[in-house]
């Protein structure tokens, strides 16, 4: 079965500016893929090439095995897209805007599903009748999410989907993603700066920096491989660390050690057997810490 999304040596130059350089990534069908990177890293350019809004300088972008250039229309029949900046005809009402976009779909939009989305994202009839330029940023974002979802696409490409949403709506969005994931018919390609959201929703992440993919991995692997910080407190003076822990200890004083431990924690805990341990604090895995290191170039890359 073909990958839902695949790029092969995807390269894009805007004049002398390198936006993407030989980008290779793949997303399996039904997967929720987090596409991360600092501003200007090339995330939006990648998305725009997938949608054939922008032409690649070289390389290929494939959706379900179809080339985004040569089978552009067929590909766009399968995609629901939410851009980071929601473009709006300001003079239109929200309801008419959705009707207009629905008229551009290749098949009729399921109105009962659209009503479900209105209900889930708390969009009332009054909201539907209000002009778009009179709506709050969060409400505009809800219309953006609904227009992307309403065609029940096989591939959802979401650029900063929850930017401007309140916590309740973020929760509603997360529920929707979980439902789609459970149904297994939709692949989600999600770009976000909200790393807690990515950690919670995504199966895998790709991290891009200066147009190049520096890491592509599953969240589970990241949890396993990313060093965890442990603070070990002792009853009485801290003993010298045993050989198995010696390299992991980063700081120590009279009463405690601070360790960074990569891999299953059982090894570290086993090495502490017999020591007068009073308490252990284990910092939870945070994707944010890892990604910030990648962004700043201090973490190891590689696939």
């Amino acid at each position: 079965m073909a990958d839902a999304v695949r790029t092969e040596s995807l390269t894009k130059y805007f004049g002398a500016v390198v936006a993407l350089e030989a980008l290779d990534l793949s997303v399996a069908p039904g997967e929720v893929y987090g596409f991360l990177g600092p501003n200007g890293a090339g995330k939006t350019t990648t998305i725009r090439i997938l949608l054939d809004l922008v032409k690649a300088t070289s390389g290929r972008a494939l959706i379900d095995g179809l080339d985004s250039r040569t089978a552009s229309l067929e590909i766009r029949r399968r995609i629901g897209y939410l851009p980071a900046e929601m473009p709006l005809y300001r003079e239109m009402t929200g309801g008419r805007y959705l009707d207009f976009l629905a008229a551009l779909e290749s098949r009729p939009v399921d109105l009962s599903y659209r009503r479900q989305l209105f209900s889930r994202f708390d969009v009332s009839d009054v909201d539907l009748r209000r002009r778009l330029d009179h709506l709050s940023h969060g409400m505009k974002r809800k219309f953006g999410i609904i227009q992307a979802l309403m065609g029940r696409p096989a591939l959802l490409i979401l650029d900063e989907p929850t930017s401007g949403l309140d916590p309740l709506m973020i929760e509603a969005f997360a529920e929707t993603v979980h439902e789609l994931k459970t149904e297994g018919r939709t692949t989600i390609f999600l770009s976000s700066h909200v790393l807690s959201e990515v950690e919670r929703l995504c199966d895998r992440v790709g991290i891009i920096r200066r147009g190049q993919l520096v890491r592509e991995t599953s969240i589970a692997d990241l949890r396993r491989d990313t060093p965890r910080r442990l603070r070990v407190f002792f009853d009485g003076p801290a003993p010298p660390p045993p050989p198995a822990l010696a390299r992991a200890v980063r700081r120590s004083d009279a009463r405690h050690w601070e360790l960074e431990w990569a891999g299953p924690l059982g090894g570290a805990l086993g090495a502490m057997q017999g020591l007068p341990v009073a308490d252990i604090e284990i910092e939870p895995f945070k994707l944010e810490d890892y990604v910030l290191q990648i962004y700043s170039g201090t973490a190891e890359g590689g696939h």
Binding site: L53, R76, F100, A103, Q147
Partner: protein, 266 residues
């Protein structure tokens, strides 16, 4: 799909089209009322002798003193010709505006072929400018008939129709050029502003060529060179060839617009 795109775009530009149609129709009424009063006071002969020949030629022989000539002025006055051209240019420049505002993203991210965007914009400037010229035409006919039934009979609708068609051909020529430019650039004002300045320049070129012989060969590049409303109205010439030439140029620029839009980054 095309219907949805077309109705959306016409709705966006509805106010502009209606406002210009109303203004230019009002201009027709004013022009005809003034012409009627001049005729009643028998001042045409004196008036024509006061206007230099080159100005009469530059304006398509319009200022020959007669009532039909005054009606032709309603279709040949620089204000009318240039404002119509500018409206068509503005309507045709929508693709650049949609790229500039990002509005095209959600449209083209759906299964909408790119050529439909160009077709939509071509239809919008054609429909918009035709509606305005049709309003001017109908207003002229109604006003002439109500003020001077005898003159109306001597001024067949068909001849006025040829003048209107010739005017539309010029306007479409500028619209198609604006669409070609808007299919390449990212800012609407860049596309519209460039073509509007070019329209004014080409109008002045045609005007200048009438006054200064060395400019005459260059005036052939101006669409306004192929517009002689007075002669058409008096029946001395049919502008079929001029219209065909202008439409041919429009088609070439339209093809260019399709090619450029298909290749561009949005």
């Amino acid at each position: 799909m095309l219907a949805a795109l077309l109705s959306r775009s016409l709705a966006r530009h509805r106010a502009l089209i209606i406002a210009v149609a109303a203004l230019l129709s009002a201009f027709q009424i004013l022009d005809i009322v003034v012409a009627y009063n001049l005729q009643a006071n028998n001042v045409y002969a004196q008036f024509a002798s006061l206007v230099p020949a080159f100005i009469q030629e530059a304006m398509g022989g319009v200022l020959v003193g007669s009532f039909p000539a005054a009606i032709a002025l309603g279709f040949a006055h620089p204000l009318v010709v240039l404002s119509l051209s500018c409206v068509a240019i503005y309507l045709a420049s929508e693709p650049a505006g949609e790229v500039e505002d990002g509005l095209v993203d959600l449209v083209v991210a759906r299964p909408v072929p790119r050529f439909l965007i160009v077709t939509r914009s071509a239809l919008v400037f054609v429909v918009g400018s035709t509606a305005i010229v049709a309003a001017m035409f109908i207003t002229s006919r109604i006003t002439v008939r109500s003020l001077s039934p005898a003159t109306a009979a001597a001024l067949p609708a068909l001849r006025l129709g040829w003048v209107a068609a010739n005017l539309l051909a010029i306007v479409w020529c500028f619209g198609a050029a604006a669409l070609a430019l808007a299919s390449h650039v990212r800012e609407r004002m860049r596309a519209a502003g460039t073509l509007e300045l070019l329209a004014v320049f080409l109008y002045l070129l045609q005007f200048g060529a009438a006054a200064w012989n060395p400019l005459r060969p260059f005036a052939r590049v101006s669409p306004f060179h192929y517009y002689e409303p007075m002669r058409t109205l008096l029946g001395s010439t049919l502008p079929a060839k001029d219209i065909a030439g202008l439409l041919g140029a429009s088609v070439v620029m339209l093809v260019l617009a399709y090619v450029l839009y298909a290749k561009r980054d949005l």
